[in-house]
């Protein structure tokens, strides 16, 4: 089976700092890939490089076999890859429905069709009762769900989720986990950044570990937990 996303020797430098250095891996369609690592490891930077927020300093990125290195984020999104933001970015003065419609308008010019798509995605995340709330007034848990509905409305084949459980209580996190598994069941490939180890071990098919911008390890959750290097660099501190 051919990879849906492939990174070849991707590096990103900020001045002298190598936020990502020489990272290569591939993603199988339909799978969930966990991306973990300590704070400042370069996880968000990698998402930014993949989605075109800024071009990588070196290396190449392929999506569905096409090179997308340096492509603008709007083009990447229209090709079928969407991302959420670690620090959520609701369109604060617009309603919940309008926020999701903006995502849906990526696939249609018709407001009526966009409204239908948006309503559908809002019911997927369980926010169909909140359509006319102003996005800026939502609590964090619902902002995260709104962000999920909005990217789902762009009809992605690959979703990059940046700490969608960050700042949520256990019940809310559980809801998000269920949502991620539901998205997987619909055949959408996902890459998930997460600090909650229990959650990431449970949902991931494979995990990539970053440390100081470098890829430290890759494998199944069981392999990662058993990897001494990973335990020393990252897991050790969270268990200590």
């Amino acid at each position: 089976m051919s990879a849906i996303l492939e990174l070849k020797h991707v590096s990103k430098f900020f001045g002298g700092l190598a936020a990502n250095s020489d990272i290569s891996f591939a993603m199988e369609p339909g799978m969930i890939k966990g991306l973990i690592g300590p704070n400042g490891a370069g996880k968000t930077t990698l998402f930014n490089c993949i989605t075109g927020y800024y071009p990588p300093s070196r290396g190449e990125i392929f999506f569905k076999g096409h090179p997308i290195t340096g492509l603008q984020p709007d083009r990447v999104c229209r090709l079928g890859m969407a991302r959420t933001w670690q620090k959520v970015r609701p369109l604060v003065k617009m309603t919940v429905l309008d926020n999701v419609m903006v995502g849906a308008l990526c696939r249609t010019n018709s407001l009526a069709k966009a409204r239908n798509i948006a309503m559908e995605q809002l019911s997927v995340v369980g926010m169909e009762q909140k359509t006319h709330f102003i996005a800026g007034g939502l609590p964090i848990g619902e902002r995260k769900k709104l962000e999920m509905a909005r990217v789902l409305a762009t009809k992605p084949e690959l979703l990059l989720l940046d700490e969608v459980m960050g700042g949520l209580n256990p019940a809310e996190s559980e809801e998000i986990i269920r949502l991620i598994l539901e998205i997987k069941a619909r055949g959408i490939t996902q890459m998930v950044i997460e600090h909650d180890m229990k959650a990431i071990m449970r949902i991931s098919d494979r995990i990539v570990v970053l440390n100081s911008g470098e890829k430290l390890a890759e494998g199944t959750p069981a392999e990662i937990v058993a990897n001494q290097e990973v335990v020393d660099a990252y897991l050790g501190e969270s268990h200590a």
Partner: protein, 360 residues
């Protein structure tokens, strides 16, 4: 095609009450000139229409797309100068001059946009001011072309006629009133269509968060330039209309920072990012600035018997308050901005919904 059908569909779905109110107001405005036989009242109305056109135009870029241009005098001036140069020096009727002005303005907008839109926030604001200053200095120095600081005076406006049928020869204010009204309604209609289409959603998404919009498949540079082009086209229309109506333009009026600020204020005072905000802004600002110019405060104090017209104080106020109208205007504007952050329209809405909530 599908977008067009959609707009028709949306128009059908508009609830009848606002639509009827709109039609009633329009009807009353059509009957205004024959019923109110006062050139001064017509003049004020024409200035209001002009402000509505300017405010609505800026609103598309500033209010809906969140790009606070403080350089819209560039497009106002481009429209005014194109129309006047063609009319006075080439004998081209202003109708064609106006269309040429729109073309020139859109071209100017795309050049200015391609430079300024690389910048965001306050840097964009400064760049928009700088670009317009360059145009003002150019107009000031290209004497052979623009008559420099002396400006251009309209000697006579060619009459509007179809074949041998004379529509108007522009000797009264009536034709300007109706033309202004039609232009104002047109730009309100365009704003309405923008707000009820995909374009409007993209504009507002960029206003709220450009990076988020970009990641959702919206090309910010495309939509920002589109927004500026629409905005510039209608600002240019206002400039052409102003030039022909007032009959005189020079760089320090039509291309000044003053003009740019004036355009922004109409929106800020009325309420940014709403269809009728600029209308409210124009209804507040035009009468206010006219009243201050004609020294209504001193007149009021004298009629109220608080100040004796012949006393030194009365003399002083009569002499100086008329000149201080810009200052008073400025203070009032600051007060509105401080106490009504959503503009007068937003303030009125808040009061109305507050009352309704209390009643419920």
């Amino acid at each position: 095609m599908s977008i067009f059908g959609e707009i028709i569909g949306t128009i059908r779905r508009v609830s009848p009450l606002p639509l009827l109110t709109f039609l009633a107001v329009t009807g009353a405005l059509l009957l205004f000139p024959p019923l109110v036989d006062s050139p001064y009242a017509l003049h004020i109305m024409i200035l209001i229409f002009l402000s509505v056109i300017m405010g609505e135009s800026w609103n598309i870029l500033g209010g809906y797309t969140g790009q606070y241009s403080v350089g819209h005098a560039a497009y106002f001036g481009a429209g005014a100068y194109t129309t006047m140069i063609l009319m006075q020096f080439r004998e081209v009727p202003p109708w064609y001059g106006m269309l040429a002005g729109i073309a020139v303005s859109i071209l100017t907008a795309l050049i200015i946009g391609s430079i300024c839109f690389r910048l965001r926030g306050p840097y964009f604001v400064l760049a928009s001011i700088a670009a317009t200053e360059i145009l003002r200095l150019t107009a000031l120095n290209l004497k052979d072309f623009t008559n420099g600081a002396e400006g251009i005076l309209a000697t006579d406006i060619p009459p509007l006629q179809f074949g041998s049928f004379l529509v108007t020869d522009f000797t009264t204010k009536d034709p300007f009133y109706y033309i202004g009204l039609v232009f104002a309604l047109a730009v309100i209609a365009v704003t309405w269509i923008v707000q009820h289409s995909k374009i409007g959603y993209c504009f507002q998404a960029i206003r709220e968060d450009q990076d988020a919009a970009h990641s959702l498949g919206i090309n910010p540079s495309l939509y920002k330039n589109l927004s500026l082009a629409i905005s510039a086209a209608f600002t240019s229309l206002a400039g052409s209309f102003y030039a022909v109506y007032i009959g005189f333009i020079d760089p320090t009026t039509v291309l000044s920072l003053d003009m740019s600020v004036q355009i922004v204020l109409i929106c800020i005072i009325g309420g940014i990012g709403t269809i009728f905000g600029p209308v409210v802004g124009a209804l507040v600002l035009v009468p206010l600035s006219e009243a201050l110019r004609s020294n209504i405060i001193t007149q009021g104090l004298i009629t109220a018997g608080l100040v004796n017209e012949d006393s030194p104080v009365g003399q002083f106020l009569k002499e100086n308050l008329a000149h201080a109208h810009v200052l008073i205007y400025g203070i009032l504007v600051v007060v509105v901005i401080l106490f009504m952050p959503d503009g007068v329209l937003g303030f009125l809405r808040k009061i109305l919904t507050g009352k309704r909530r209390k009643a419920a």
